[in-house]
Amino acid sequence: MVKKIYFQSIFFSVFFIREAFAAESGGMPQLNPEFWVSQIFWLILTFGIMYLVLSKIILPRISNNLESRKSQILENIEAAEKQREDSDEKLKEYDEIISKSKLEANSIFNQAREKALKEIGAKKEVLDNQIDNEIAEAEKEIDTLRKNAPDKINKIAIETSSELLQKLIGTEVNNSSISAIVDDLSKRNGDKYYGN
């Protein structure tokens, strides 16, 4: 569409030019050979100098710049990759150390617990034994005390009753007869007092 308009207007403009200026202009200045040699000369000169400058100095510099940038970027990427690998390795090592130390700590804890438990057990046994012994001794003592108790009570009872009789009656009573009575009483009532 744009192209069509473009070419149509070129056509019409050429038409217009012919109509309006055919009389006064001597055709296209491009076809006037007066300055052709000069244009060729200056074209070769300027283009030649530009070509030499570009090809010998500027383009190698640009290509060098591009090349060095590319290689530097590649180098940086490589270095980054290497560092990443290193850090991955270090991370792995670190993880290993942590898991190892965890295991170690666990085993140490277990050992300590077992040791403590053992010690506690041993101490408990010793204490238990001691307590048992003391209890047994105490029981023995109680037993002997209990065994001796009726005799002592009898004796006290005989003495008390003889003194009592002396004070009441004023005569000396034969101890042996009193003891016989007390024995008899204690035998009869012993079960009631001592619970045996």
């Binding site: 744009v2 473009y6 207007s9 070129i10 403009s13 050429v14 217009f16 030019i17 200026f21 006064e24 202009s25 296209m28 200045p29 491009q30 076809l31 006037n32 007066e34 300055f35 052709w36 040699v37 000069s38 244009q39 060729i40 000369f41 200056w42 074209l43 070769i44 300027t46 283009f47 100098i49 530009m50 070509y51 400058v53 570009l54 090809s55 100095i57 500027i58 383009l59 510099r61 640009i62 290509s63 060098n64 710049n65 591009l66 060095s68 940038r69 530097q72 970027i73």
Partner: protein
């Protein structure tokens, strides 16, 4: 002076007449704009390649983008064998582009709107490509005119057509650029003339057209430089890699 739309293409002497023997090589406005174009190319690309920083500044980016653009164009159309001709095609592209673009500035002269300039460039390319073809392939280069897979009856006709099309390359290459430049600039001048003649009342329409044309012409200026360079690459490809 501005009334004639063709007067913008006039070449005139600046300074004294310089003659070497019978040849007139005077400095003209065409020479002035050739120098301006080449000097600005050298300046821009010199600035763009001076400092090599990893993060390029604007002018360095411009130079590097142009470099990769042209090098990609060459490797896409002519392959890796065309690498030695990179500098020439780059200079050619930049020269045509800058001449075209300088022509877009009002009151300037468009170097590429002259058939003699474009023809010298095209003829140089044509001769160069033909010489490269004969150096690379010897007389085998003539196989370019004999396409494979053509029936024997048609072969004489095809060979004649191929030879004519090959010989018309410099003409088509030069006329394409010259005619595009001349037509565009003439048309802009004509519409500019309409603006003046129609005055404040009716001049707005050709003025808006002129503005649109300026944009189109800038596109054409770039496109013609690109076409000129890419056709050179295609001719070079024919000479380097004989496919026919």
């Amino acid at each position: 002076m501005a009334a004639n739309p063709m007067s913008q293409f006039d070449v005139y002497r600046i300074g004294p007449e310089i003659k070497v023997g019978a040849l007139d090589i005077s400095f003209t406005n065409a020479s002035l704009f050739m120098i301006l174009s080449t000097v600005s190319i050298m300046l821009i690309f010199n600035l763009g390649s001076k400092k090599n920083s990893i993060l390029p500044n604007k002018i360095q980016l411009l130079a590097e983008l142009s470099y990769t653009f042209v090098s990609k164009m060459i490797s896409d159309t002519a392959g890796s064998k065309a690498k030695p001709y990179f500098a020439f095609i780059f200079s050619l592209f930049m020269f045509v582009l800058f001449c075209n673009m300088f022509g877009m500035i009002p009151y300037t002269f468009t170097v590429t709107s002259h058939i003699i300039v474009t023809f010298v460039l095209a003829a140089f390319i044509f001769i160069g490509v033909t010489v490269i073809g004969f150096i690379k392939h010897g007389f085998g280069y003539l196989k370019l005119f004999v396409p494979s897979g053509v029936p024997a009856v048609l072969l004489p006709l095809i060979v004649v057509i191929e030879i004519i099309s090959y010989l018309s390359r410099p003409i088509s290459l030069s006329v394409r650029l010259f005619a595009n430049m001349m037509a565009g600039h003439t048309m802009m001048k004509v519409f500019g003339g309409f603006v003046i003649s129609l005055g404040i009342v009716g001049g707005w329409l050709p003025l808006s057209f002129s503005v649109a044309l300026t944009g189109l012409e800038i596109l054409v200026a770039f496109l013609q430089a690109y076409v000129f360079a890419i056709l050179t690459c295609i001719y070079l490809n024919d000479a380097l890699n004989l496919h026919h």
